[in-house]
């Protein structure tokens, strides 16, 4: 049995999905924005709802509630714009949340072998034990792949 390793205090953003709260390392968060129009187009990747336009960038919207709560969100109050890593590349991803977010400092206990891949660790806050999410495992995506016909017009949107 592996012993959890205590790490130094770091910043986390607490987000609310329905009745539950989860945490994401603050370094992975770009901003919290009001919901905007989602542009949908055909695709085959589960959990992706479409894209939003944010600061001239096209940002995919990923509903993680189904995986975390077992049901999709019926309402959403904000999009938490997070940085998702794909190998050595990273891009923004919008996560719908149902309530206000909170920035806290806490010490994280690393995830154990029995934890799901999307659990990066655990923090304790106000008597509540909260899952710290590993967005790279929770959200779809793969290593950077070539896009067919990388056109000369191409302007990548990377954070």
């Amino acid at each position: 049995m592996t012993q959890p390793i205590e790490s130094a205090s770091q910043s986390f953003v607490l987000l609310r999905l329905g009745e539950r709260r989860f945490a994401v390392a603050a370094v992975q968060i770009s901003e919290l924005v009001a919901p905007s129009r989602i542009f949908r187009f055909p695709h085959r990747t589960p959990k992706l709802e479409g894209v939003i336009l944010r600061r001239g960038r096209i940002v995919p919207v990923c509903d993680v509630a189904e995986k975390l709560l077992g049901k999709a969100l019926t309402s959403r109050r904000f999009y938490l714009i997070a940085v998702r890593h794909y190998g050595d590349k990273s891009e923004w991803m919008a996560l719908p949340v149902t309530g206000d977010c909170e920035l806290i400092a806490a010490e994280m206990t690393n995830a154990g072998e029995a934890d799901a891949p999307h659990v990066a660790g655990w923090i304790s806050h106000n008597g509540e034990v909260i899952e710290v999410l590993n967005l790279d495992a929770l959200t779809p995506g793969s290593e950077a792949q070539p896009t067919p016909d990388a056109a000369p017009l191409l302007l990548e949107a990377r954070p």
Partner: protein
Amino acid sequence: MRVAAPPAKPHGAARTEQIILFRISGHPFAVSSASVQEVRSVDSLAGAATEIDQPTLRKVRHVVRRGDKALYVVSGAAHFGLPASSASLVFVLRKTRTALLVDGIDKMATMTRLQALPLAYCHEERAWYRGLTALDQNVIPVVNPEGFLTADEFALLDASIVPETIPGELTGDGMELPE
């Protein structure tokens, strides 16, 4: 001492691309006009098309002859997994033996920026689209003309037809687009 500013780098004219905005089952798409050889009415295929019954490839129901090549007619709705719609036009695509059934054309436009499909999209859509473009406060997927049929699917289709049985060549009636 005042140091002269370095000469400004010449700004080349922004590269743009003409695109055709079209619809399939109510969804907007774009395709580079340079990759569309011809736009035809679906009615013009009558008499020139032969039916194909390939159970594993329902998106292709017809083939037409174009010169010495077989041109496979792909249902855009079936390809993208959209509800069946009544296609009225067919795009004959360049550099691929594919023709695409679409519901209609919205307009021509100029694309100044093509953004790569976000890496979160990691399934077939990476082959379907060249990327996304923002146009008039909309985000439109720009289709990849070579993404409608894979090499394996072409091989499957080629094996299922007898070229001599394809009736008359597809000629006339279409609107040719300049390359």
